[in-house]
Subunit: 337 residues, 4 copies
């Protein structure tokens, strides 16, 4: 932590800060420049938590030097993490495809989807039973009944299943039926939910919030990890910007940034990022080439009657074609699919 | 709803959409232009929910014409709503000041604050017992114990009290001790929480999400209203932009926009919007002049040792001075303080 | 300038940076922490311009400590600047209203506007002769002919006149007819134009770019000041965000931030910030209360036939009413109008 | 164009709009819904330019149906455009790599770079002689002398050369020495410059503005095309968002969006998009996979002493390695490199 003093800060202001730092058991290194003085703080910063040095007299600003996340930080855990969902391994040299409908609508819809995506090469079946929708008048999901369809689809196809959870109640139901929990973009900073997901014992897919910085996202992962659950997979799904040609703006840079700052696997969801079916394939390709560990792609037997997010869902035929085109690219990136 | 067709859309594509609309009991008005054909849909759009017209062949885009929120919409409820929190009335010609610490830290801190802000003219005491913090290692709040201090502060000063809630558990505790619930920016689209707050019977202060459009914000309010709870107050607290001179960017336009689109009262929180104490007063003044129904201002007996958001908290002296300067401005705006 | 090293940076990397700093005639202060080492650079940073310390081995990041703008910086010029445009003084205790049409359309339109706004209390007449328009097929301005109308309007009413300039040619024409130059949002980082405006000898109104940080804005002002032209007035006119209810998002915080960081006067343009006539008055009021030194308000004899930005222009009657309501507020803020 | 009326709009308001539309020679199609009435305008909208229907009584909003750009629009020009820069062809099945230093610093630096990047497989040499810099105290470029070095580099290596131009003067100089003009992000809406570049006769590389929508970007291209210059290549280089881990946020979706809306070629500049050398390769790869027609990559003989943007420049060795890794990917995408 570095404290930058205002120009012409009084000596006594500098001295008061130095004393406060030392009284808390840390060291203060003073560099007096021509214009400004800076004070480097050396030691365990958490000891200073009860002090807002930022508002001491003559302080201009505080510059943090180290990240606030530790367990998610590559600096302290240089080896890439792999996460096992039943027998599917995410991370390392594996490339994993999640697919399925935005919302579970019926047993038939889900089973048909599970069988088709399995044939096309998907590894994990997704499906929403608890749907966070902007308007209270939109379809809100089949809830617990949807979960039983998920389990049935897994039993029939062998594909592990993942479902978004939006409350403690949803977690309590989901752990009985699914293999991995998803925390959606709108709940990325629902810290209560993060902690409960951390305690669930299941691996967690953590989507990035619409306006979350990568630093905040890794801190959200830290909430789960800090509960003793090391099985966290990140999912970039687009951020909110001024551009309206796509529903969100896929931040493709998040892939190499996460690879550099964290050891957690990262997948990309081009369906939610764009909201437009025609852009799913080029963005899926770009995610593979950027180094992503996997993809989440929405599919539906009949997108034009989907109860949620139909415009971005692929038909089975389109999905089949997509996975065919992805394979040589995944191999070129030296990953196994 | 208007459906814009692609240039040179086939007649059969247009016909198929017309048929689908009519088969759902609505009317389709076709305008065939030189370049494009548009189809106006007349009738109850909710009947089309199961159809994704957007992905029918030759459709270019769908343009919604009416807002998805109804109960929060001024069009259907032109009179301004007033919300009563014990004997404090928010909305109409009243100007209401919420104040208190970001986090409840101790009984002493809270009682001292309650007494001082009451003297200075505040109407409602705020205080956080459940703190949503970016890092799991930051102070997370006193939880239920904090709530008992809130109640004690109310009993001693007569000021109604408000506390942020972050889970169903927190709501269940809070209803026993406080007079109004707050839903924070990070939970604005935690739809589960919105519904539970709607059911609680208490008035709700709904803060705008960091990257929520005003339309999404009013839809979030709709979740609460749809549970039969009409007592919703909105709070603008800054949105996320590229600017870093302030923690967030106060969207002052939200005040007149909400006044035009909704009947719900709106207050402004300049403390969280800027994160900088020196900017609290000018932004509080600007909010009054823009037509806000109130303010939420953070205060602390000793900001330099506050466990949360100290840099933006006012001392009692500063708060006292602020309310003094606000009064003539509030009167100029023809509101009662 | 502070150099933050990576954890476990090699001693030789630290030594190499220290040597480079010292070889350039500056001092390096090393603070070796438990996790990371930081190096404070003391002395004239411009001597390091030819070195990209950021990419030296083991460097994590560089943290600038002082602002790059000097002439615009309040630290080195604590007294507020006043700018004289003929006999109108901007800054200090004065409150100045600029008004007029977005685009000059005819002599009649401009003269009528000049007379009416003068009666209502405006101080400076604005009018666009060179219009930067998103589409090449929109009205591009009357150019030099428009300038002659501006001069005529001034001669008739005595109001100083201001016109946006978009090229060196436009500057060369404008200096013959107008009293102040305006650099628009889209040209805020047209550094060539900034320099030429600096050399023109006329005072300059510098609008903030749509996505410019306040720091970049002050650096743009620095370009003008560095040409020996001290007469710069800043104008906040909304930034680009995700919100679509208003054309741009008025960053009202920019007013107190500029007041704290710079000595230059700042005015606010609520017309361009919102693009909606109904929001002009509340935002004008909020700007006064936030401490702005003036306003720029679009007016038009008949907004429904305006060739540019009609939807945000006030009629003369609306403008008259606005200035009436502004006056008591300006007085409350202890400014002269 | 569709006009959406307010709920309960008066019949006479609807009639007045209908009359206005018809008086201008267009047709008005009225759809009267239960809640709102909409009016479809059929015919040549440019005839309505002098009418601001948006502010007619009882109008809620205007929804444009067709894009304002025509020459850049794929709808009216479905075949992809190819742009020839001497004997290098951009667009179609060709993949073209632009490379070189951010700023031309000396003849030696430029010639060394030209030779090395040619060996590695680059097709066009870039180099900045007129540098738009945030601060007036940063290196501003060698200007005309830099242009002569560019020409010399071309003469020696045969690589066509491109240089950013920032004023009419710069264009007048550049046409004598270089083969393609670049308009940078900060000048994307410098409409005067766009027109002059259009008139220059040289092909133009048009970078996207930091906060420009794709629609605005295509309208900027329209300015050049409308001058009779069909040789425009677009370049995505990152947009401004709240994320700070990268300098800008590369909007990779822009590649498929442009491919769908326009016939112009599009390349990607990962160097400026991220500002971090380590992210250049993964983002270059992602751009190829998304379907880009080329890349612009900064290189420098010694990035640590570069006068501009050193931290993002690749060494020759890194560039050589990058092009080696790109080749199989470009082939997989069925493009020639």
């Amino acid at each position: 932590m570095i404290i930058v003093m205002k120009p012409n800060a009084k000596q006594e202001s500098i001295f008061r800060i130095k004393s406060t730092i030392e009284a808390n058991g840390l060291d203060a290194h003073i560099s007096a420049g021509k214009e400004v003085t800076i004070i480097g703080v050396v030691g365990d910063k958490s000891k200073l938590l009860a002090q807002n040095l930022e508002i001491f007299e003559d302080v201009d600003k505080i510059v943090p030097v180290t990240e606030s996340y530790k367990l998610a930080n590559k600096k302290f855990h240089p080896e890439p993490t792999t996460v096992k969902v039943r027998d599917v391994v995410i991370g390392g040299n594996n490339f994993v495809i999640f697919s399925g409908p935005c919302a579970v609508e019926s047993k038939e819809q889900l089973l048909a989807t599970a069988q088709e995506i399995k044939k096309a090469g998907a590894h994990i079946l997704r499906g929403g039973a608890f749907k966070p929708r902007t308007s209270p008048y939109s379809f809100q999901g089949l809830e617990d009944e949807g979960l039983t369809f998920m389990k049935e689809a897994r039993d029939e196809t062998g594909l592990p299943v993942i479902c978004e959870i939006t409350s403690l109640h949803a977690i309590e139901s989901a752990v009985k039926y699914v293999d991995m929990l998803q925390i959606g973009a709108r709940n990325m900073q629902n810290f209560y939910l993060l902690k409960e997901a951390g305690k669930s014992g299941l691996p967690v897919l953590l989507k990035r919030g619409l306006s979350a910085t990568i630093e905040e996202w890794l801190n959200a992962a830290e909430y789960i990890l800090a509960e003793g659950n090391p099985n966290v997979v990140l999912c970039e799904r687009g951020i909110r910007t001024f551009e309206t040609a796509t529903r969100n703006t896929l931040d493709i840079s998040a892939v190499p940034v996460i690879k550099r700052k964290s050891h957690l696997p990262i997948i990309v969801d081009p369906s939610h990022a764009t909201g437009v079916r025609a852009y799913v394939k080029p963005l899926a390709m770009s995610a593979v080439a950027a180094g992503a560990d996997g993809l989440m792609i929405e599919t539906h037997p009949n997108p034009s009657t989907a109860l949620s997010d139909g415009p971005q869902s692929l038909t089975f035929e389109e999905f089949d074609q997509l996975t065919e085109e992805l394979k040589p690219l995944v191999k070129l990136m030296e990953k196994n699919i």
